[in-house]
């Protein structure tokens, strides 16, 4: 899963798609994941960072990850 190259994100979780004018707000952890994605890190690398940094079970992370990616896809923010 790769974020579209033109998507603008900010540290506070604001996401802007300049091609459509859509904007979104996200919570802290979602903003952190976006920052990693923008930096070009792989899905496995990002998941490992989250596991290292937060108290979360792998199965829970996987479920939340799938849910978040679905939201990004529906928001037309992913390069498919």
């Amino acid at each position: 899963m790769k974020l579209k190259a033109n998507i603008a994100t900010s540290e506070n979780g604001f996401i802007f798609n300049p091609a459509t004018g859509d904007s979104f707000t996200s919570n802290g952890i979602a903003a952190e994941i976006l920052t990693y994605m923008k930096a070009g890190e792989s899905e496995a690398e990002i998941k490992q960072k989250i596991l290292d940094r937060y108290e979360v079970e792998l199965c829970q992370l996987e479920r939340d990850w799938d849910d978040y990616m679905l939201q990004l896809k529906e928001a037309n923010l992913l390069d498919l």
Partner: protein, 355 residues
């Protein structure tokens, strides 16, 4: 980059502008003036040309230096010419920018005579004006391979039933010059027909409804098939009258290319606005082509392409190069403001036709 010798002009540039009705169905005049003030700075004199005494921008003295009333388009070309001659003797207007669809026919008709008076314009031809008319838009789209919604022009309310069967509901019922109503049922269609007929006359346009995202494009073309500026804007807040009250510039090559295709197909000369609907399958429908700048035109200047200033340069015969870079994510949020004036000002304009 546009090139103008007027940036450091010593002579005052005098520009006349119509469309001062900055109300809930706003004319482009105030946005045009604001962009011109940004683009030319000092030594700019703005002459407002108004049809009615309560066009709000008349009373914005920091934007409009002097206003004259002019006759309604229905008074004809001669009446307009006579009035402009009177004004020109006093004001020495360099460039005139008309901003109403309904007045354009007369101004185009007077183009050469205006030039003889020393007033330059940069307007489309009568043929171009007719081709993009709501009545002819479908034929124009078909001819040039541009996607437009199916539409029919009708002259009698009795034709509505047939149109409803053909196009289905919802339907868009449109006035000849302005306004459109989305209707869900034949009784609503009848009501909309009579209302628009009373206001704008016949014909009435019945158009297929397209569901999607509303996007407008402001453009400027040189009359030789080239666009010099294109700024797409997505509507963020839409009023009951369907007007953008807030919007944001977006970066999308498909939209830019569509504007270029329109300018090339029509050989458009001057400012224009494309009203676009993007449907779920990412198809871009041209809903309307407005033969002038839109009311939100100041956003073009804010985003980095000052189209009104570029148009003035074109009218003056200055070299104007195509601009391609602009800022995506630049927003406008319109607001209402109660401007306080003395009745004496209103009285002066009402009694003497100038303020």
């Amino acid at each position: 980059m546009s090139v103008s010798p007027h940036l450091n002009q010593t002579k005052t540039l005098t520009i006349a502008v119509t469309g001062l009705n900055a109300n809930d169905n706003p004319g482009p005049g105030l946005g045009v003036i604001r962009a011109l003030r940004d683009g030319f700075g000092e030594n700019l004199r703005i002459i407002g040309l108004a049809y009615e005494t309560l066009e709000p921008a008349i009373y914005l003295s920091d934007q409009v230096d002097k206003t004259y009333r002019i006759p309604y388009p229905t008074a004809g070309v001669e009446a307009l010419k006579e009035r402009l001659q009177q004004i020109q003797e006093v004001e020495h207007i360099d460039v005139l920018i008309p901003n109403f669809d309904a007045e354009l026919f007369n101004f185009i008709k007077l183009e050469k005579e205006l030039l003889n008076m020393g007033i330059r314009t940069f307007l489309p031809t009568h043929q171009q004006l007719a081709d993009r008319d709501k009545v002819n838009l479908q034929a124009f789209g078909n001819k040039h391979g541009l996607e437009v919604p199916a539409s029919e022009t009708i002259l009698a309310v009795s034709e509505l039933d047939q149109m409803a069967d053909k196009l289905g509901f919802p339907l868009v019922i449109k006035g000849k010059f302005y306004e459109a109503t989305i209707v869900q049922h034949i009784s609503e269609a009848y009501k909309a027909f009579y209302k628009l007929q009373a206001k704008w006359g016949l014909p009435i346009i019945v158009q297929q409804f397209i569901k999607g995202t509303e996007i407008n494009i402001a453009g400027l073309a040189d009359g030789e098939g080239n666009t010099l500026s294109v700024i797409p804007m997505r509507k963020m807040y839409i009023t009951e009258k369907g007007k953008a009250w807030a919007g944001i510039t977006i970066a999308d090559d498909k939209l830019i290319n569509l504007a270029k295709a329109f300018a090339k197909a029509s050989q458009w000369k001057g400012g224009f606005e494309l009203e676009i609907m993007r449907d779920e399958k990412d198809r871009l429908y041209i809903m309307e082509v407005n033969p002038r700048f839109p009311a939100w035109i100041y956003l073009s200047a804010a985003a980095g392409q000052n189209q009104p200033r570029m148009l003035v340069d074109l009218a003056l015969g200055n070299q104007v190069k195509e601009l391609t870079a602009y800022t995506a994510g630049k927003m406008f949020v319109r607001y209402a403001w109660d401007n306080i004036i003395d009745v004496a000002e209103f009285q002066k304009l009402s009694a003497f036709g100038e303020l």
